[in-house]
């Protein structure tokens, strides 16, 4: 087997990259996925999409990503991006001052977030019991998708276009020679890389790259998430409890997804204290959910870099390897813009945005970290 472009990982990043490559007329692509499509972090996320971040890089790139999510949904309705907003709930006075600065910064970059009063919150989420909430930040351009609708419709579109997606195929080694990736050795044989190799394997990228001498400062963080049984649609935006970083969002089927960060979560084990913490936070504001059943609880990974920004682009050690990982919990939502930028790099063009160029791996060695504070869940 051989392909012009070999992509390790069939998650959001890999699939969107392949999609934009096919739009450029490049269809000789093989995606290699160790398990099923979206089995890494993409299929485990809550499906929230926002540009209301604290760094210019995230705000600019995610604003573009949202445009692409809308565009793609117009073209392929099954992608199903629904622009229902994000609502950040504030419970302490000092959060309001910080929020005003953040909102002002986001506004200068074109993201129309705004502070809303208690009454304003009730207008957006009529079913909420306001309790100790004093105000909120509303991001009207944010939205949500159902991750598997996105992943499987992308896979279907790609396969129709002749792109090969090998599932249950593990990349065991990247074979390199003379500053080039020449092949990948997989559990189902060798695949020759004619042009470029893209490593978009989430947390699994680190060991693959380490074996060929690329040191990626990235840690796997275990995050916990649950979904309830289906209930009538009652919640438009994804909501965030700023004090704890807990989030809650209703999927298109009616299930309510909830997540919150818990202490010392390094092992991929389920934890009763997660269920207690997330229930205590959200049932206070939505007591009507007490009788609603918990349906499933699972974990997923954030592949976290020291500055909570991804690594996108070429690596100094090799001429034909591109890396896209380290999204620190935001990889699914960034998929479209990352895919678009990587497709540009593959055909030898500059990325569209200077913010993308700042996200190369050498920033760690140069000590030029970018900071992102608005990491939730």
């Amino acid at each position: 087997m051989e392909a012009e472009v070999v992509i390790v990982g069939a998650g959001s990043t890999g699939l969107f990259t392949a999609l934009y490559l096919t739009e450029l007329g490049l269809e000789d692509i093989i995606l290699v996925e160790r398990s099923y499509i979206g089995s890494g972090s993409s299929g485990r996320c809550a499906g929230g999409i926002r540009a209301s971040f604290s760094s210019k890089e995230h705000i600019v790139l995610m604003s573009e990503s949202i445009k692409l999510w809308r565009e793609l949904t117009e073209k392929f309705p099954e992608i199903g991006f629904r622009q229902k907003g994000y609502l950040w709930l504030l419970t302490r006075e000092e959060q309001i001052d910080t929020s005003k600065n953040l909102v002002a910064f986001q506004n200068t970059l074109g993201v129309p977030t705004r502070i809303v009063s208690r009454e304003g919150i009730e207008d957006i989420v009529p079913s909420i019991d306001l309790s100790d909430i004093i105000a909120g930040i509303y991001d009207p351009i944010a939205g949500k998708v159902y991750p598997f609708d996105v992943l499987y419709s992308l896979a279907h579109i790609l396969r129709e276009n002749g792109v090969e997606i090998l599932t249950h195929t593990n990349v065991e080694e990247i074979v390199v020679s003379n500053r080039r990736a020449v092949a990948v050795r997989t559990s189902r044989g060798r695949i020759k890389v004619k042009g470029h190799l893209i490593v978009a394997a989430g947390v699994w990228s680190r060991n693959l790259l380490r074996a060929i001498g690329i040191d990626l400062p990235m840690e796997a963080e275990v995050h916990h998430i649950l979904v309830t049984e289906e209930v009538r649609q009652f919640l438009d935006p994804l909501i965030i409890h700023v004090d704890t970083g807990a989030y809650m969002v209703q999927d298109p089927i009616g299930g309510v997804l909830m997540g919150v960060n818990i202490e010392d979560s390094y092992e991929d084990k389920l934890r009763a204290d997660f269920l207690r913490k997330v229930a205590r936070i959200w049932l206070k504001y939505f007591p009507q959910l007490r009788k609603v059943n918990l349906l499933r609880y699972w974990i997923g990974y954030y592949e976290v870099t020291p500055d909570h920004h991804p690594v996108i682009g070429s690596v100094p050690e090799y001429d034909n390897i591109l890396v896209a990982t380290g999204f620190s919990g935001h990889g699914f939502m960034m998929g479209p813009i990352v895919g678009l930028e990587l497709s540009r790099m593959i055909i030898g063009r500059e990325p569209y945005f200077k913010e993308t160029k700042k996200l190369t791996i050498d920033r760690f060695a140069r000590g030029e970290l970018i900071e992102e504070k608005a990491v939730i869940g």
Partner: protein, 93 residues
């Protein structure tokens, strides 16, 4: 209304014909993907009925064009806890 009504997943109302269509038209032949694409086994039963049912019909469902792709496709999808749905309020205490 659905023309055929051989329901394999009673929680999410998925028919056998839908499963066959996904296998042959979208080339998704592993149960993990079929589960997530059609939401078979993602309802309140947690896959206890539907996944077993599909598993038993699997060799016939796969047919010629996707047969012999290896035993990995036969992996039974992971069951997510809880085994039986329980009210959220129980965790609040």
């Amino acid at each position: 209304m659905k023309k055929e009504t051989r329901v394999v997943c009673i929680c999410n109302d998925v028919t056998l014909e839908e499963v066959e269509k996904i296998i042959h038209e979208e080339k998704l032949s592993d149960l993990e993907s079929i589960k997530r694409r059609l939401r078979v086994g993602m309802g309140p039963c947690g896959g206890k009925y539907c996944i077993n049912l599909i598993l038993r019909m699997y060799p016939r469902l796969l047919g010629e064009d996707v047969r012999g792709k290896g035993d990995l496709e036969l992996m039974v999808p992971k069951n997510r806890p809880p085994v039986k749905p329980i009210p959220m309020g129980l965790f609040e205490v």
